[in-house]
């Protein structure tokens, strides 16, 4: 017995004396803490790349992994729902209730749409940039001074970009330019946000190079001078500073690094993002493991067999609307974009075979034409996608400049740029030098060229004309802010300064 007590005591003593060695406090070498995260140039590279990665995820949309307040498992490709869904051009052929509610601007009525009202990931991207701008100036080793300046400029660019994108969606938004901000920020007027975006873009433009080494796609997925100028031009359009916007895009044109891809090059552009036309895009490349996992790309919803294993269309542009948007195609099939953007699939072939693509892109009926502008799936699994998400491209900027010039009464200049885009599409040049007609035609050309490319609703909201194209939004609704998305409940938590958009206060 005494022996037992003795051994027990001895054992416990051994545990007490040996158990708490300091080596247990050692951090695993792969743990990153704040005070060791900002040491070298490669830390800075990683931190800036991360800001772009968060922004890409912000565009794809919020998931359950991002916040417990959402129930959605995968991202949906929210950039489509923000920028295209409510344009009045889309239908849901399988009558999906969530989509239909979205088309009709009933954005709060469905819990499945709720994650789209949450701007959390945009502010996470902004915070990442703020941290970079706070810490990277103190890093001295591991990169050249020039590279350091470029990385800081990229952080300025991305911070402006995230604010700009969120402002187009929500209108007035908080401006956050300090790292680790814990103050409850209120929403600033849209014009103030856009002025801040212009100022930040200017800082970036001064430093950023036109292109980086490497492929075109990699280069245009990061902050470049072209992307920052395009961002500045877009922000100035919202501020109605048409001269400024026109000048910014003129710099891009004069540099000559970008050009319109031929129609035959559209697959390179919309499948691979590998083209001189892309100015800023989100990077996807399945060959190096960068694909949109678990939905995340809007292609999931409009592609079917033969591209994916889906049997039916969930989002589509109806046939009559295609003929209305592309009158030249309706007349003599001259608009080459129709065959690039739309396809008819033989739905009388079973799901387990590859359905043939019909020669005539609009051979199918009203509700059965597939939107196929982006059609590069990773494989036939329906939720893994590999297509780029363009944000700015050259044709879009030419049309934006055409609009700015038309509003400045530089009609010849405007016509020239409009007709560059029209000539590529193979449709007759527009020659009526009449300002209101021309502005209207440019808006229609943007609709044709950029269909399903996450621009249309922003164009309409910027011009206050969403109500003309979406019958669920009245003119008064739009004046009250119906064109913008409502602010999510999460943004109101612990923030007495947060306010809901006027329209959405009464349309919950």
């Amino acid at each position: 017995m005494r022996n037992k007590i003795f051994i027990t005591c001895l054992t416990s003593l051994m545990f007490v004396s040996q158990g708490c060695k300091d080596w247990l406090d050692e951090l695993p070498i792969n743990t990153v803490t704040e005070d060791q995260a900002w040491k070298s140039g490669s830390d800075a590279e990683g931190a800036v790349a991360k800001a772009f990665a968060i922004f890409r995820r912000a565009l794809a949309g919020l998931t359950k992994a991002d916040t417990p307040s959402t129930t959605r498992n995968g991202a949906w490709g929210d950039y489509y729902f923000w920028g295209d869904m409510r344009s009045g051009d889309w239908i849901t052929p399988n009558n999906d209730g969530d989509w239909q509610a979205g088309f009709e601007n009933r954005l709060i009525s469905r819990t499945e749409l709720e994650p789209m009202t949450n701007w959390r990931l945009f502010y996470r991207a902004i915070e990442q940039c703020n941290l970079v701008l706070e810490n990277v100036p103190n890093i001295t080793e591991g990169f050249t001074a020039e590279r350091k300046a470029q990385l800081l400029a990229e952080a300025h660019f991305m911070r402006a970009m995230a604010h700009f994108y969120a402002a187009r969606i929500w209108g007035d938004i908080p401006i956050n330019l300090t790292a680790r901000n814990v103050q409850p920020l209120g929403r600033e007027p849209l014009a103030d946000v856009m002025r801040m975006v212009v100022a930040e873009a200017d800082e970036a433009i001064a430093v950023l190079p036109w292109l980086y080494d490497g492929t075109r796609k990699k280069s245009t997925s990061r902050g470049t001078k072209g992307a920052a100028l395009a961002l500045k031009a877009h922000a100035l359009m919202w501020l109605k500073d048409y001269q400024g916007a026109s000048d910014a895009i003129k710099q891009i044109i004069d540099e000559g690094k970008f050009s319109l891809a031929p129609i035959e090059g559209f697959r390179d552009m919309f499948d691979k993002g590998e083209t001189n036309e892309m100015v800023f895009q989100m990077f996807y490349d399945a060959s190096i493991g960068e694909f949109s996992d678990y939905y995340g790309h809007i292609m999931t919803y409009y592609l079917t067999n033969p591209y994916t294993d889906r049997g039916n269309l969930s989002l589509a542009v109806p046939r009559s609307r295609i003929l209305q948007i592309y009158p030249d195609y309706a007349r003599d099939q001259s608009d080459k974009r129709v065959a690039e953007f739309f396809q008819s699939i033989d739905f009388s072939v079973g799901e387990n075979e590859l359905r043939p693509i019909l020669a005539d892109p609009i051979a199918n009926g009203e509700r059965l034409i597939m939107f196929a502008k982006f059609r590069k799936a990773k494989d036939r699994t329906y939720n893994l996608m590999d297509g780029p998400v363009p944000i700015f491209r050259y044709a879009e900027l030419l049309l934006l400049k055409a609009e700015a010039d038309a509003r400045l009464s530089n009609l010849n200049e405007s016509l020239a740029n409009l007709n560059l885009v029209r000539a590529r599409a193979g449709i007759p040049l527009f020659e009526k030098a009449d300002q209101p007609l021309l502005i209207e035609e440019i808006l229609e050309e943007r609709r044709r060229e950029l269909i399903g490319e996450f621009q249309r609703v922003y164009d309409l909201v910027r011009l206050g004309r969403l109500h003309e194209f979406n019958s669920s939004v009245s003119e008064k609704d739009e004046k009250d802010g119906a064109g913008f998305f409502p602010v999510s409940d999460e943004a109101f938590a612990n923030n007495p300064n947060m306010t809901q958009t006027y329209y959405w206060q009464f349309n919950q």
Partner: protein, 208 residues
């Protein structure tokens, strides 16, 4: 010892009761007579107000009762929602007239469309179809195409539901171009023929 006896007894009970065949029991195949309607095609359409009352009204307005009810034919029934979408296409401003106020021309056009949903003197049945196409001619003289497609079920190829697909030639001149629609309810037997109900989500009256 006592414990092992209890354990053995328990295992025995599990073995005896665990594999009851009743577990797999389902309703079995539907009654052969379930699809027999015992009314004429038009009377059936009339009785299903939620699905077909617009179609029945149009048939009567166009005076096609006899053609729809002709013995031995096949009728492919478009649902109300398909007809709703048809009028929405004709009148994008939502200002369509009441059905009774349709002009003679409009009625003529609608009659032409309805005739293309009738396969005269031929009962098209699932049992006679395969994934390969077979062709018939509609009452309106247009070429119609039928085939059967089978879906996958939980990634088991060809183990899912089999659908009858109806296609109609909408091509101009000698060019044949088919638009297709799946049948959502097939093989309803009226006193004069057979009825297949068409999918209403994607199909628009008149194959628009």
């Amino acid at each position: 010892m006592k414990r092992s006896i209890i354990a053995i007894l328990f295992a025995g009970v599990v073995f005896i009761c665990g594999c009851n065949d009743d577990y797999f029991t389902d309703g079995g195949l539907p009654d052969e007579k379930a699809s027999v309607l015992n009314v004429s095609t038009l009377d059936y359409l009339d009785s299903q107000k939620g699905q077909f009352d617009t179609l029945a009204t149009l048939i009567k307005l166009c005076g096609l009762e006899a053609e729809v009810n002709k013995p031995g034919n096949t009728f492919l029934a478009p649902q109300n929602y398909s007809i709703h979408n048809y009028f929405k296409l004709l009148f994008p401003e939502d200002n369509w007239p009441p059905l009774t106020a349709l002009t003679a021309e409009q009625k003529e056009e609608i009659a032409g469309i309805i005739r293309n949903y009738i396969i005269p003197d031929k009962q098209v049945e699932r049992s006679g179809l395969s994934p390969a196409y077979s062709y018939e001619t509609t009452r309106g003289g247009t070429k119609a195409r039928f085939n059967l497609i089978r879906e996958d079920y939980l990634e088991n190829v060809n183990m899912g539901a089999a659908y009858l697909v109806f296609g109609l030639n909408v091509g101009a001149g000698n060019v044949e171009q088919y638009r297709s629609v799946i049948v959502v309810t097939s093989g309803l037997r009226s006193t004069n023929g057979i009825i297949h109900v068409l999918d209403s989500n994607t199909h628009i009256f008149g194959f628009n």
